[in-house]
């Protein structure tokens, strides 16, 4: 990423976070000041950015049902439905359960590019839409099962998805933890020692990961080692944000130190074909359908307009993807800035980066375990609170 571009991104991200943070703090303050007598009365249901987000979401959501009804007699209403669904997706994805946090952490942990982050966001969102359509098509349309039974299926899928996220996170923690410990050992870094330990890790990783595991996990682990390797090797010119560059380096290094590696060639990992390695993340995140989409689909089906519901679901997915992609880019650029800043410092930079990646990997694991146990970010959307 060019410095100017990343700087612009950073500033933008900073502005967004600042606004959100201030807004959040204001909310807390407004709600928590017991002294000071009269609070200014709120004119809206809830003020500020969050209130506005809330209002918008509710508005779009409510309009969906009336638009589907309208589409029964007026075909052109479908366009309005698509637009509303798209907008709803954009606003709604701000909440958890859309893989935003998982994808962002994964990207930071694995030092992925913004482009890959966007691709991951889109593919997982489309998968989410597809799963929702399949559940309703099979469950409601073909089998005519009750909402309660359908909810059971949803829950199984959700648990599978959370389990995958946790497994994925554990895997990341394992690799990143090993790297972090290695970085700790070589601190203060002695180039020769660093190189030696890294090439050892490389061979180990290559040996360890080939063949038996899932392709997604396998490539993830492996890929990281390549990155890390290039990082250490190119320690003096610090241009790791540039994906292509890093790959050239690892290719170069490969010949010199790692002839015995059995992993895929760097060229296989780069470029459009290499996104295979994000497959684990895509499946983990995209498996769980959005309950809102299922509701819309069931409603559309009951109105005899299932196809309109399907179109709306994918429009919603597209909106979701845009929000998740934006946040992923924000996370990636934050990671890039961290890398640049830590690169500016002499030896401890590598250690800090390893630490950040380790922490990000830990977050993925935390999200997975948290979602699985339901303590963190309890998913309130599960089957509309199990049919109120």
């Amino acid at each position: 990423m060019r410095p100017q571009l990343s700087r612009t991104l950073a500033l933008g991200a900073l502005a967004v976070t600042a606004v959100l943070t201030i807004d959040g703090v204001m909310h807390v303050l407004a709600a928590q000041t017991p002294f000071g007598g009269q609070r200014p009365p709120m004119n809206e249901q809830a003020g500020g950015v969050i209130g506005w987000l809330l209002a918008k979401q509710s508005e779009f959501y409510r309009e969906m049902s009336s638009t589907i009804r309208a589409a029964k007699t007026d075909g052109s209403a479908v366009w309005a439905l698509l637009a509303i669904s798209f907008a709803y997706g954009i606003f709604h994805a701000a909440g958890p359960g859309h893989g935003k946090a998982v994808i962002s952490s994964y990207l930071v942990a694995n030092r992925e590019t913004a482009r890959r982050g966007i691709a991951l966001a889109f593919v997982s969102a489309m998968l989410q839409s597809l799963v929702a359509v399949l559940i309703v098509a099979i469950g409601a349309w073909l089998l005519n099962i009750t909402a309660k039974t359908m909810c059971g299926a949803e829950k199984v899928i959700a648990i599978a998805s959370y389990g995958l996220i946790a497994a994925f996170g554990a895997r990341l923690v394992w690799t990143k933890g090993a790297n972090f410990i290695r970085a700790l050992q070589v601190h203060p870094p002695v180039p020769a020692l660093a190189l030696a330990s890294v090439s050892a890790s490389h061979s180990h990783a290559g040996h360890d990961h080939t063949g038996h595991d899932h392709a997604g996990h396998d490539h993830t682990g492996h890929d990281h080692v390549h990155h890390q390797h290039s990082h250490f090797d190119a320690h003096h010119d610090h241009s790791h944000d540039d994906h292509g560059h890093a790959h050239n380096h690892s290719g170069h290094v490969h010949d010199e130190h790692c002839g015995h590696s059995h992993g895929p060639l760097p060229s296989e990992l780069a470029g459009p074909g290499g996104w295979r390695r994000g497959l684990g993340a895509i499946f983990a995140v995209g498996l769980r359908p959005c309950s809102g989409a299922i509701l819309v689909l069931v409603f559309a089906l009951a109105q005899g307009l299932f196809w309109a519901g399907i179109a709306a679901t994918f429009a919603m997915g597209l909106g979701t993807a845009i929000t998740v992609a934006a946040i992923a880019v924000l996370a990636v650029s934050a990671g890039g800035i961290a890398r640049r800043l830590s690169g500016a410092s002499d030896g401890s930079g590598a250690l800090i980066m390893r630490g950040i990646e380790f922490a990000a990997a830990g977050l993925v694991l935390l999200f997975g375990v948290g979602l699985l146990t339901g303590y963190l970010f309890a998913e309130p959307l599960t089957c509309l609170q199990s049919i109120l």
Binding site: P41, N43, I50, L53, R69, P96, I327, A334, I356, L388
Partner: protein, 215 residues
């Protein structure tokens, strides 16, 4: 720590805050309920319970009806909806039936709901149920709130006659505040702070507040 590390820490903190910040935006309603409530009085003038009639929005109504068999298409009898009503009542228990009562400032407890059934009217499901008070009370001021603290369900008092006092002594008067009334939300927010000491009850801003005074 060196300035660089500080900046770095600051950055990551900001990103985390952004994630948490937008997380709060998740609390938005997915189910809309238009409610009417009756306060039931015993002959001696004490309040025995609350009888709700909650009309669900059309999208939720359709979703809940998915897969429910009926003899006549588009017409559901109370019997055909009995199992769904059972599910409703069971799942609502977890949320304390979204009904919060205070008699002269003292929190009241409710029994399990009785006389519950669902009716299907013009594309909407209406849930009827009675919440008996554990012990009937005869307070000067009864405050009744109907809301979802998590704001997953958006409660709205019906436009017409949302509150009725059934068998109440003549001197009893009631008033109610809707959440979109600015004063009401500020007040609800304030009281919630004193009672719960936090802003966890986000949905309190959207509470429907009913006050009955009997001199």
């Amino acid at each position: 720590m060196r300035p660089m590390t500080w900046r770095l820490t600051g950055w990551l903190t900001l990103v985390m805050l952004a994630m948490l910040g937008v997380t709060a935006a998740q609390a938005h309603p997915h189910v809309w309920i238009t409610s009417t409530s009756e306060l039931m009085y015993a002959p001696d003038g004490s309040i025995t319970g609350v009888r709700h009639a909650w009309t669900f929005d059309d999208m939720f109504s359709t979703y809940a009806l998915q897969g429910i068999e009926s003899k006549k298409k588009g017409v559901y009898t109370h019997e055909e909806l009995a199992s769904l009503a059972q599910t409703n009542v069971e799942s609502l228990k977890e949320f304390g039936f979204f009904t919060f009562a205070k008699a002269d400032g003292k929190k009241q407890k409710f029994e399990e709901p009785v006389d519950y059934f669902l009716e299907y009217k013009g594309g909407f499901l209406v849930l009827h149920f009675t919440l008996p008070l554990k012990t009937p009370v005869k307070p000067k001021v009864l405050a009744l709130e109907v809301f979802d603290p998590t704001f997953f369900v958006d409660f709205k008092l019906a436009d017409k006659d949302p509150i009725r006092l059934v068998g109440a002594p003549e001197a009893c008067k009631f008033e109610f505040q809707r959440p979109n009334d600015g004063a009401a939300s500020a007040q609800a927010l304030g009281e919630q702070n004193f009672t719960d000491g936090g802003n966890v009850n986000f949905g309190a801003m959207f509470a429907n507040k009913i006050t009955v005074t009997c001199p």
